[in-house]
Amino acid sequence: MRKEILKVDHLKKYFPIKSGIWNRTVTNIKAVDNISFTVHEGETVGIVGESGCGKSTVARTILQLEQPTAGNIYFEGKNLCLLRKKELRRKRKEMQMIFQHPHSSLNPRQRLKDILYEAMSIQKVVPKARKNEQVHALLQKVGLQPHQQERYPHELSGGEKQRVAIARALAVQPKLIICDEIVSSLDISRQAQILHLLKKLQQDFNLTYLFISHDLEVVRYISDRVIVMYVGQIVEMATTQSLFESPMHPYTHALLSAIPTPHPKAKRKRLLLKGEVPSPVEPPSGCRFHPRCPFATETCKKVAPTLQGTKDVEQNHLVACHYGEDIARNRSSFF
């Protein structure tokens, strides 16, 4: 087993909703509700889910951009939630993030080289004399030309900006990079290139990725393991192959079958969900998926399933469904 680099332990993040005369907290948006997982060195873990399922909050909480409501986050065994501000700032060198919107993730008033210089000087990773060299090397690594270092962000295309954001993250030589929907605002042809680049960089620098996206195809392409989230909780977690070839949770199933396939002849049977994603303010009782689930029973309404392994399938395929096994076994008759 490879070294564990990140461990998320019973993480909760609630956002209070304030109201009334005294502006008291009346209720909470339960954006992330009790999730645990680990990431091993050198692997790519994808988190997939629909908007509002809490996947971005997970990323922001891991990086301490938000304080977790409960739970702990261990990075190489060190609990990030207990670090003091100064220690945390030093620790940030180890883990970086790349954001969704290429046009707003770069300061419009800085040239590319200033952006990269600054990242390096904050963490003092490179001696001053070698900075220039390093900027060139970084730009080349992400597929940009050294002469582009004089450019401002607005002079670049979306794909190029995202490359700069990658270079900035790489500038401090991190071990873990969290990618939050980094290709979703790019055109299809650009998406492929960026994902390709990420894979290459992973090999070159032995990076670990936590890759967040709503796009199943993208996650499938890049990830070694995949986590499926629904309304603040993990419903299924497995290796990419196992998840996509033998999904066990009905929600995962619905997600997979909902993607329109770019083959006009491949008209397959579709598991069409009724209703909409429930609000994370008042999530349904029991299993949060039960109101939309075609297989829901009384048990599902009352008892929340835990994330656990199943006998039939490979060992680390975890699912939070009372009937995961049954459904998996009789898949062909259902779908």
Partner: protein, 328 residues
């Protein structure tokens, strides 16, 4: 197209431009296509290809883009020649449109009912009771539960999927002959997208409409359309029957796009993902040649000089490329 009947809509040599003080930017350039009755045409392309402008021109709502040349024949009549007053009678009645972002496409301060009723009052002489009846039926048809309640709600009280359903109901109130859907599911989640796409298909069958779908997503196009037009830089670069296009794409751009899709087979065969040279050249920077020439891997001398014509082969497969041939 193959249809022997007169098509419901046919667009010929349509060009739309934006004019600045001393510049003309061509958003849509010499676009021709037609939509037979009851069929679905998809226009696919990346952002900035001119898809939305083409769609808006069909309702003559492309401002500030100006329709420079061309004709749009709807049931045989050129709607570009019509008076604004006559045009208004077509919008929302014979040709309806739904937009990309259901969050912003409904007026935030009118109830759903008020907004739907407005369409009926504009186009049909119904009294309040009849109008309410029609609206309720339509809301039910698009799968909105408890329509009496929904009618009195404001858009912000509905979820994204519900809003898009309400938009569809509004577009279909007068049983239009053509429905234009501009990226109808782009702003929605996958499971909701699946619901909406299924709904549109179902309604198309029930109401015998023609549909024009604009999308950047080949999956949506493959699922929904009978015919597909691929747009790039304001031009249609390829147009064919959906099966034909996906099986035998001819234009290098289409091939490129289809290859960059991250499909199952991609996972094992990464080498096929060939990077397109950046940076993007904007279409206006390329003078007279093929719009795709600067990025085209098969580029030849002629490509940069002259815009290739849209050529039809024996399968009604149109391609705008000097070098496209069946053997590739």
């Amino acid at each position: 197209m193959a249809s022997t009947k007169q098509p419901l809509l046919s667009v010929r040599h349509l060009s739309v431009s934006f004019f600045t003080k001393n510049d003309e930017v061509k958003a849509v350039d010499d676009v021709s296509f037609s939509i037979p009755k009851g069929q679905t045409l998809g226009i696919v392309g990346e952002s900035g290809a001119g898809k939305s402008m083409t769609a808006l021109s069909l309702l003559r709502l492309s401002q500030p883009g100006e329709i420079v040349t061309g004709e749009i024949l709807f049931e045989g009549e050129n709607i570009l020649k019509k008076k604004e007053r006559e045009m208004r009678k077509i919008r929302g009645k014979d040709i309806s449109m739904i937009f990309q972002d259901p969050m912003n496409s409904l007026h935030p301060t009118y109830t759903i009912g008020q907004q739907l009723r407005e369409v009926l009052y504009t186009h049909e002489h119904l009294n309040k009771k009849q109008a309410t009846k029609r609206i309720m039926d339509m809301l039910q048809l698009v799968g909105i539960s408890a329509p009496e309640k929904r009618m009195h709600q404001y858009p912000h009280e509905l979820s994204g999927g519900m809003k898009q359903r309400a938009m569809i109901a509004m577009a279909l109130l007068c049983y239009p002959k053509l429905l234009i859907a501009d990226e109808p599911t782009t702003a929605l989640d996958v499971t909701i997208q699946a619901q909406i796409l299924t709904l549109i298909k179902e309604l198309q069958r029930k109401l015998a409409m023609s549909v024009l779908i604009i999308s950047h997503d080949f999956g949506v196009i493959a699922e929904m359309c009978d015919h597909v037009a691929v747009m790039y830089g304001g031009n249609i670069v390829e147009m064919a029957d959906v099966h034909h296009l996906f099986e035998k794409p001819k234009h290098p751009y289409t091939i490129e796009l289809l290859q960059s899709l991250l499909r199952k087979d991609r996972h094992t065969n990464e080498k096929k993902v060939r990077p397109i040279k950046e940076p993007f050249l904007r279409s206006e920077e390329n003078g007279t040649g093929c719009r795709f020439a600067p990025k085209c891997p098969y580029k030849q001398e002629i490509c940069a000089k002259r815009l290739p014509p849209l050529i039809q082969d024996e399968h009604n497969h149109y391609t705008r490329c000097w070098i496209a041939s069946d053997d590739r």
